[in-house]
């Protein structure tokens, strides 16, 4: 089971690297490669792109390495709740921070991401986010003076 996944994983890994390489090659061509004597802006991207795509193929076909000393082979289970909450937390910080100010941004960021933990309750998340928001406002707004208004409406 683990062995199967490992084999598949190597193919995915190689494929991803190959894809990165292709992007670099396409962009390198567009920029103009030039020659060694007169290097264009696309020379280095092209070289890296070729290297990456070759490495991608090698990773995909090579046998997966034996587990090394520090690999934690945790069973892979999708953690949608945790992942989703962390993503939404950051997105809410961007959107609310930009359009409504630091306080809503901070509060929603901590509140939503705290809900990602399976043991969290609405109450525990509220307490945590209130505490972090107060601390954050004191630290960032009053002490370090970052230029986000505490409350605002629309783009400032």
């Amino acid at each position: 089971m683990l062995r199967e996944w490992k084999k598949k994983r190597e193919v995915f890994a190689g494929g991803l690297i190959f894809l990165f390489g292709l992007v670099a090659i396409v962009e390198g061509r567009r920029l103009g490669v030039g020659s060694l004597k007169a290097m264009g802006p696309g020379y280095v991207p092209m070289a890296l792109g070729i290297l990456l795509s070759v490495l991608g193929v090698l990773i995909a076909v090579a046998k997966p390495a034996l587990p090394t000393f520090d690999q934690d082979e945790a069973p892979l289970t999708a953690e949608w709740r945790g992942w989703g909450c962390i993503l939404l937390g950051v997105i809410s910080f961007i959107v609310l921070g930009k359009y409504t100010g630091l306080v809503p941004g901070a509060f929603s960021c901590v509140f939503i991401s705290a809900l990602g933990d399976r043991t969290a309750t609405i109450k525990s998340a509220l307490v945590l986010s209130a505490a972090v928001t107060v601390f954050g406002i004191l630290l960032f707004y009053y002490l370090l003076r970052i230029p986000i208004p505490l409350f605002s409406w629309g783009v400032t």
Binding site: E10, F12, A13, I17, F20, A24, L31, S35, L36, K37, M39, G40, P41, G42, V44, P45, L48, G49, L51, L52, L55, G56, I59, A62, K63, A65, T68, F69, D70, Q71, A74, L76, E79, R81, G82, I86, L87, V90, I91, F93, I94, G97, K98, G105, A106, C109, V110, F111, S113, A114, G116, D117, T119, S124, L128, V132, G136, F140, L144, I146
Partner: protein, 520 residues
Amino acid sequence: MGRDVISTALADLSHGFGVALELHNLLYCFLGVLIGQIVGVLPGMGAMAAMSLLLPLTFAMQPVAAILMLAGIFYGSQYGGAICSILLNLPCHPPHAITCLDGYPLTRQGKGGTALAITMIGSFVGASFGITEMVFFAPYLSEIAFKFGPAEICSIMLLGLLAGSTLARGSAIKGVAMTALGLLLGVVGTDVNTGVTRFTFGVLDLYNGVEIIALALGLFGIAEFLKNVNRMAPVNTRVKLRFRDMRPSRKDLKTAAFPMLRGTIIGSLCALIPGTGPTIASFVSYAIEKKISRTPERFGHGAIEGVASPEASTHSSVQGDFIPTMSLGIPGDAVMALILGALIIQGIQPGPQLISDHPDIFWGLIASFWIGNIILVFLNVPLIGVWVRLLTVPYRVLYPAALFFICVGVYSANNSFFDVGETLVIGVVGYVLLLLDFHPAPVLLGFVLGPRVEENFRRAMLVSRGDIWYFMHRPISAVFVALCALLIVVQIGFWLRRLSKQRREMAIRSKVGMSPQPKA
């Protein structure tokens, strides 16, 4: 001649102490090691994330104070990490993973305090040796490096990158791929030579390139949270430690003395090879200690040598890691790449001229290492009870708060919400890469060195009129290229050996007709 070198080094060092003891520098050094200690103790937090979080704060600071503080976070976290692994058997920080093997059994025998005390002594001894190594070795190294032209700089960077990606953790080929990806990320933005924008895809915010803070916090912050959320077991410890439990007996000290020294020397050697940072140093010294011990069966059941040697080795290598970074401008790992990035942001060009152009930074940093290590010993020994209690802060409280700090930290770098989004994207991609068994550290290495590799490569090609063999015609450069080739050959050799071993095992299994079983 020898006396001359020593006396100039000592004179410079006393100048350094003058700089480091200035009140505000001292304060920032203290702040750095304190944050490092806290981050080191908290399970699931890393020095990388803490350093990149504080990076925007350093923009407004003087360069000396900025570097002192960032460096302090790094070595401070090493002290904190040891507590975590000895008392809880949790390898929170990779260099201390091996300390768990003997540290935790000692805790269960009620000798956790002794193990910690030996760790602190070993750490201090190791660190002091690493610093001394830096005092005498770094200026010498930079003097040699002064003669380097673009070809040499380019090939030594290549060697550094290759060593950093192949000698570190995990698969070598994946490490190289990550380095190449980092180099590519370094290309993003406006090309200084032609003014053309590369890989920006029309996004205006990318014209200045990828933000280093966004990259570091994405890879070492958000990606780590995505990995750890709901996977960190809650910590239950009823270990109560007080100051007086920490006095080691004379016998323990005697047993630990030589392992400590051996570990120190191994660590200082590992520091000089780029890519072999503290983690490798600690593993190597543990293995050696076990091999030369007359009673190897005690290892794993609470041998004090198994704590003393790797911890001394870690700290000696942590301090020594700064040598190639400060004297050549070649960082050995992601942490050093970040320190280099901080220097560049301050407008200081890293490289062999750093020591002579900015003696304040170099000697002040070295002096601050000593001061910081002394502060750490004082922070750790009397306050051990506080750190033990800090260990029990649950992850579900930590990561949402840390996530918010990351958001604000990235925002404050350029006052831009776009950068926060950039961090999120990098974090998600970074997590996918983690799932696919890539290690993200070489990405940062490549990212920081990328622009300088390209610039020097271009210059070398300009000088030689496009002759790629120029790198082989210059003797010093040729040596570096040869070493690169050697690294690649050795890696291929390892790979072939592993392949044949696997094949042999498969053959034996099919002969016996056994189903594949994990080795005992």
